[in-house]
């Protein structure tokens, strides 16, 4: 659990994605690791600067899909061969081609739900409260047109005075302290 006392971090506001990416890259080179960018649309360069490349969403999706296929197809085979065998116009009980479509649909159903809910879970959402919402300028900009870099207080390199000076050199619109 992150510390709940003191401040959450320092939040620098930028007008353009270029400045944000530059500041993030520099912060990473300066040894900051506990940091995050907040942008109104996905900025892949910011993720590069944060060295965040891999997500586990595709893996969760794959596992979901395999589960869906096994569940769907297995259920059909069990129902039509053992659970409730019916002779329909002399077709074999194990009519494997006919079982393909529902099995296929459940593969997609399970993998789609896994991708969507897996993404939400990995993001730690829903999380209706977050310290950043306390920052006075965050809510007007982060989901509209501003680009934010937050250096978090539990980073070992963090110190309010030095980090503020560090952030000021990138000419941000503002640097504010974020309370818990």
């Amino acid at each position: 659990m992150p510390v709940r006392e003191g401040i959450y971090g320092l939040l620098a506001e930028f007008n353009t994605p270029s400045e944000l990416v530059h500041a993030t890259e520099m912060a990473h080179r300066a040894g900051y690791r506990r940091m995050e960018c907040y942008t109104p649309y996905p900025v892949e360069e910011a993720a590069e600067a944060l060295r965040f490349h891999k997500t586990r969403v595709p893996l969760i999706c794959l596992i979901g899909g395999i589960m869906g296929l096994i569940t769907g197809y297995g259920m059909e085979v069990w129902i039509n061969v053992w659970g409730y065998p019916l002779n329909i116009r002399a077709m074999p009980l194990f009519s494997w081609p006919a079982f393909v479509i529902p099995g296929y649909e459940w593969t997609i159903l399970f993998s789609g739900l896994s991708a969507a809910f897996g993404m939400i879970a990995l993001n730690g959402l829903p999380q209706l409260y977050h310290p950043l919402f306390n920052a006075p300028n965050f809510r007007d900009g982060a989901t509209t047109d501003k680009f934010f870099l937050c250096l978090e207080a539990h980073d070992p390199r963090f110190s309010i005075a030095e980090t503020r000076v560090f952030l000021e050199q990138f000419n941000p619109v503002s640097v504010v302290e974020v309370d818990h």
């Binding site: 400045e19 995050e36 649309y41 944060l50 129902i79 079982f99 479509i101 959402l125 989901t143």
Partner: protein, 482 residues
């Protein structure tokens, strides 16, 4: 037919909406920035005053939707005997309307998924309401088979679940496949739509003034704060959902075509059905997107974001899918002769020149003769008035296509002694017309309460998104981009 490109066309060269480098209409009108697109789209939802025309449209549509309530109530009291379905025409309006509505929905998934995979950036402006259209069309479509089963309150028997009767579904039937295909389609469409809206709900939460709007949008935004790590996972999930929806949308209409193609019925038992059904679905769906987009962009002044480029591109997709449909019609005629089957041959003769031959020629007129001759003209493809008219023409045609397929094969099948006819009753019509109202009501509610155009995706299309190495000062970059 095709007019010259605008680069050489003295009439259109001064149009500010045309990008001089490509000669195409711009996807987004020049001069927008992140804040202006956000305010434009969020402003539609976050206004305290609902336009009177919205209320007018809402009450008009709601009045029509009462037809569903009346039609369903009487159906529950009396049973499906009040419809025109009987032997030999055992599949009537219910199946026609089901296929028609679900086909309309397919364009939404095509726009949101397939065009995303093909990196067609222009789709961003229309993708949200096309997805909404999909979901509402599936709602209308799903109603019909459920009512047609006769005892809709036992509809859950369609699903495999352990029960005291020890009865299970029979998976060798295309009708059981339908249950899986359509329920999966509805679920994935809703999830894709909602996930797409989460960042925009975050914007609405942050821009809302009224505490109720803040609270409600805050709930549905799930606490979205635009974190880069979140965005990367989000993009990954969106891409996966698009990749999954693409085969899904093809499989759904393929499965629906199997309802016909698996049956040993003249006119149905053909291998051309799956591709021809899918193309027809996309054709009618794009027509419906135009029906919705043209009045909406006018009413909400969204011409900057849903530009003539979008209309042009959608008309081109219709031209392609319409041509595939025309090929399907041609193949049906050819195969009925080439099969050397007496019954196939008679079916086609009866379809063209029998008592309901007018329906066949009407669909040839509305699906092929009118659209496939005029859509080659660029001037007509960028004319909202003409496309609005054409969208109705095509959807009438696509409804008659399903009417012709369902009815003409059934009412004169193999044995002349069992020939009959099909006449829809008042209760068929009231339910069908009621679903138009129901669809419109849902769509108007969506337009009022949710962001119709995905704000985060529109922002990605602006020139200001370009990241320059070294982080240049803010004012210079913004100035250059504008």
């Amino acid at each position: 037919m095709a007019t010259q490109g605008p680069i050489h066309d003295p009439e259109t060269v001064h149009d500010p909406m045309i990008d001089p480098r490509t000669g195409e209409y711009a996807v987004i009108a020049p001069g927008h920035n992140f804040r202006s697109v956000t305010q434009k789209i969020a402003g539609i939802v976050l206004t305290g005053s609902t336009p009177w025309a919205w209320w007018g449209g809402f009450f008009f549509a709601a009045t029509i939707a009462v037809g569903v309530v009346i039609g369903v109530t009487w159906l529950f009291l009396k049973g499906v005997g009040i419809w025109g379905v009987t032997i030999p025409g055992a599949w009537g309006f219910a199946i026609i309307n089901f296929v028609w509505w679900i086909g309309i929905g397919h364009a939404g998934t095509l726009i949101s998924a397939i065009l995303l995979l093909f990196k067609q950036g222009w789709r961003n402006s229309i993708n949200r309401f096309a997805e909404a259209m999909t979901i509402f069309a599936v709602c209308c479509a799903g109603m019909f088979p459920l009512l047609h089963i006769g005892r809709p309150w036992l509809g859950y028997w369609l699903f495999p679940y352990p029960n005291t009767m020890n009865v299970w579904p029979q998976f060798r039937s295309p009708l059981a496949w339908d249950v899986f295909a359509v329920s999966t389609y509805a679920t994935i469409s809703i999830v894709f739509w909602y996930i797409g809206m989460v960042p925009d709900f975050g914007t609405l939460r942050d821009r809302a003034k009224s505490p109720i709007a803040k609270y409600l949008y805050g709930l549905v935004a799930l606490g979205w704060r635009g974190s880069t790590r979140h965005w990367i996972r989000y993009e990954s999930a969106s891409l996966l959902l698009a990749g999954l929806s693409t085969p899904l949308v093809l499989s759904v209409h393929t499965t629906i075509s199997f309802d016909f193609a698996v049956a040993a019925m003249a006119g149905w038992h053909t291998t051309i059905f799956p591709p021809y059904f899918v193309a027809g679905a996309v054709y009618s769906g794009f027509a419906m997107v135009l029906t919705l987009a043209i009045p909406i962009r006018k009413f909400y002044h969204l011409e900057d974001l849903v530009t003539l480029r979008h209309l042009d591109n959608m008309a081109k997709v219709m031209l392609v899918t319409g041509s595939i449909v025309a090929y399907g019609y041609g193949m049906e005629v050819f195969m009925s002769w080439y099969s050397a089957s007496h019954w196939e041959f008679f079916m086609m003769w009866n379809r063209m020149f029998g008592p309901m031959g007018w329906a066949y020629w009407l669909l040839i007129l509305t699906n092929i003769a009118i659209p496939l001759t005029t859509l080659w003209s660029r001037r007509l493809r960028v004319s909202p008035g003409y496309l609005f008219f054409l969208s109705f023409v095509v959807n009438i045609g696509m409804w008659f296509e399903r009417f012709v397929i369902v009815v003409t094969s059934l009412y004169r099948e193999y044995l002349p002694s069992s020939w009959g006819t099909y006449r829809a009753t008042f209760w068929d019509y009231i339910l069908f017309i009621g679903t138009w109202g129901f669809f419109t009501v849902l769509f108007l509610l969506f337009a009022r309460l949710a962001p119709m155009i995905p704000m985060s995706e529109i922002r990605m299309m602006l020139p200001q998104t370009k990241v320059r190495p070294g982080g240049q000062p803010a004012d210079r970059v913004v100035e250059e981009a504008l």
